[in-house]
Subunit: 358 residues, 2 copies
């Protein structure tokens, strides 16, 4: 108890303005590393901890995967253009995408919400309608959660549990030199959609009676407001009898994800700019907004596509498949991660990603 | 897409002040029930969903339990007297207590935090020191989480995973008529501690140089700032070869928990006021604050003791055990839940509990 009362005094008497290290100096990934480096794994049932899309544990004879995300109003979403139903749907997608990124099947979710008193029951119901739709579409069960009031805005915390047989689980650390780097779908769309929505929000503030014609932006807005996790890609890989050597989902942007695979697998990558799949609508929006579409794909994030490596022997199985594009290959670690431009220039890939603390 | 753009417009143009149902009309438990009633369980691996201390799932041949809690600054804790290290410790206790309340062993946790820019790295480190100490003391592994910035204050979301053999898991729904109602430790302490701390905070605001003598309040403050989950009670029950018929942890107050057991098990309860274990220090504090100590035990909450029912045949095994007190028994459902006072009066038990929305 002496310690306790002492601690109590310290806290109450502490000068909260004394100069210390700011969190924005570190960034999210470094912060997690720093805070958790002293935590070991003691239980036999804890197979893999922090550092991949999901953690792996095993209480019986089959592994369970778990991943968790916090979504905070004003940081991760803006309710002035994100309908609550879509937010609920997206919150589930963001999480189950992490389980697919381990080549595994999401099975259960827990959803905790905290809401300030500006939310009505009907508003929270809308949110849960979106969660329910996502659960039905992806055959995931809501099994738990917590509700609370918040002092400001809406806070969502979602955890997802999945399973797979041991030999099918794909981590970030298995890529080998010469493996092909493959991405599903196309990239940069969610970022382009965000630009469109932010512009419309600004217009709306000036003149709330404008009726914007958004028909040219339909795909990009859908990518931002109602992304779909790539269950179909996981099913396709299973049909094609391909187990990727490494995998990650594109939540922070292609650059950041390639660097994650590189760091975990200890290989470099060559990424060919011309191969990066970008939808024509997205290219047009990037032109309109004077953005480089490669930059949108590299740093935009929130596309929730799957990025993975496969052995060259599997190339014929995926060749010309409309869902998948080979965008590069793994190389010697010393070569680092390089973007090869159309003119053949090499540019080192750096992670811009999404910095919630900056 | 038509729906999507339509929804987008609706949201942007919506009158957010139209009169709707306020969340405080419902309360936390009713809100969870209401929001989740349309969610069924589709996966064979989802054994039990919302409605107990933890959910149960099974991906291999042994069940996994999961429980999750959100802790929000200004709603669940006050950093002016809650040291961050204690907060980290308590956040883990609150969660693993839910797994013990299923007669199961917590094994893994995930911790997500969101912090505003008033927190320094050193502050967040202190929080994680408390989490780490709790993990070590209770042999639980931190396996995942998320970090983010917040627009206001500190937000913690903790999920815990546990396991047990199928036949040892104890839910809320197994109490039978004539079963004995047993509680571990003593009650009302955390609530008394909160009163002391709130008073000191008020004194401190007026005169920051006062040096309060808190030695008479040591136990109550510890119950509030550094609660311990009842791992020892679960181990004791195992040694005594007792599997309770129903169990819950005392997080919202004895009244609320008895009503939960009653509702789930479809039995009534007789609770004897004179049997409710209250520490002498807590009685004195209640006198000082002009509080009824029975009320503190019934409605105070945050004691994290275990409340459970056992078959009468197990009575001899626990009789006079210093950790356990028989405080009543289950009776016919029609009789409802009654507090029997020292003078023999019956008072119907109503849940005051902890209402985060009021």
């Amino acid at each position: 108890m002496t310690f306790l009362i002492y601690a109590y005094f310290c806290n109450m008497l502490e000068n909260k303005n004394s100069s210390k290290t700011s969190l924005s100096d570190l960034g999210e990934f470094a912060l997690i590393d720093h805070l958790t480096k002293k935590f070991g794994l003691e239980n036999k049932s804890s197979h893999m901890g922090i550092g991949d899309d999901a953690a792996i544990l095993q209480h019986g004879n089959k592994p369970t995967l778990i991943s968790t995300d916090l979504l905070i109003e004003g940081v991760h979403f803006d309710l002035s253009y994100m309908p609550l139903k879509h937010l609920g749907y997206k919150a589930v997608m963001v999480n189950i995408s992490d389980i697919y990124a381990m080549n595994s099947i999401p099975q259960q979710i827990t959803v905790s919400i905290a809401v300030s008193n500006r939310f009505t029951l009907e508003a929270v119901e809308e949110l849960y309608q979106g969660i329910n739709l996502a659960c039905k579409n992806y055959k995931v069960d809501l099994i738990g959660g917590d509700t609370s009031s918040s002092t400001k805005g809406l806070i969502l915390s979602v955890s997802v549990l999945g399973c797979a047989s041991e030999k099918k689980i794909v981590k970030r650390d298995g890529a080998k030199e010469n493996d092909l780097l493959v991405v599903s779908g196309d990239l940069g769309g969610a970022y382009a959609g965000l630009q469109v929505l932010e512009r419309e929000k600004a217009v709306f503030k000036v003149n709330p009676n404008t009726q914007p014609d958004l028909s040219n932006y339909a795909y990009s807005i859908e990518r931002q407001l109602k992304p779909e996790a790539r269950k179909d890609v996981i099913e396709l890989l299973d049909e094609l009898n391909i187990v990727p050597t490494s995998m990650i989902d594109v939540s922070d942007g292609l650059s950041s994800e390639i660097l994650h695979l590189s760091k975990a697998s200890k290989v470099g990558f060559h990424l060919f700019e011309e191969k990066i799949p970008i939808d024509p609508e997205i290219s047009l929006i990037c032109q309109e907004f004077k953005l480089n579409s490669t930059t949108a794909a590299l740093n935009g994030g929130e596309d929730y596509e799957l990025l993975f490596t496969i052995d060259q022997k599997d190339f014929d199985k995926i060749k010309n498949h409309p869902l998948l594009t080979v965008i590069g290959h793994a190389c010697d670690n010393k070569a680092g991660c390089q973007l090869i431009t159309g003119l053949g220039h090499q540019i080192e890939i750096s992670a811009q990603g999404w910095q919630s603390f900056s």
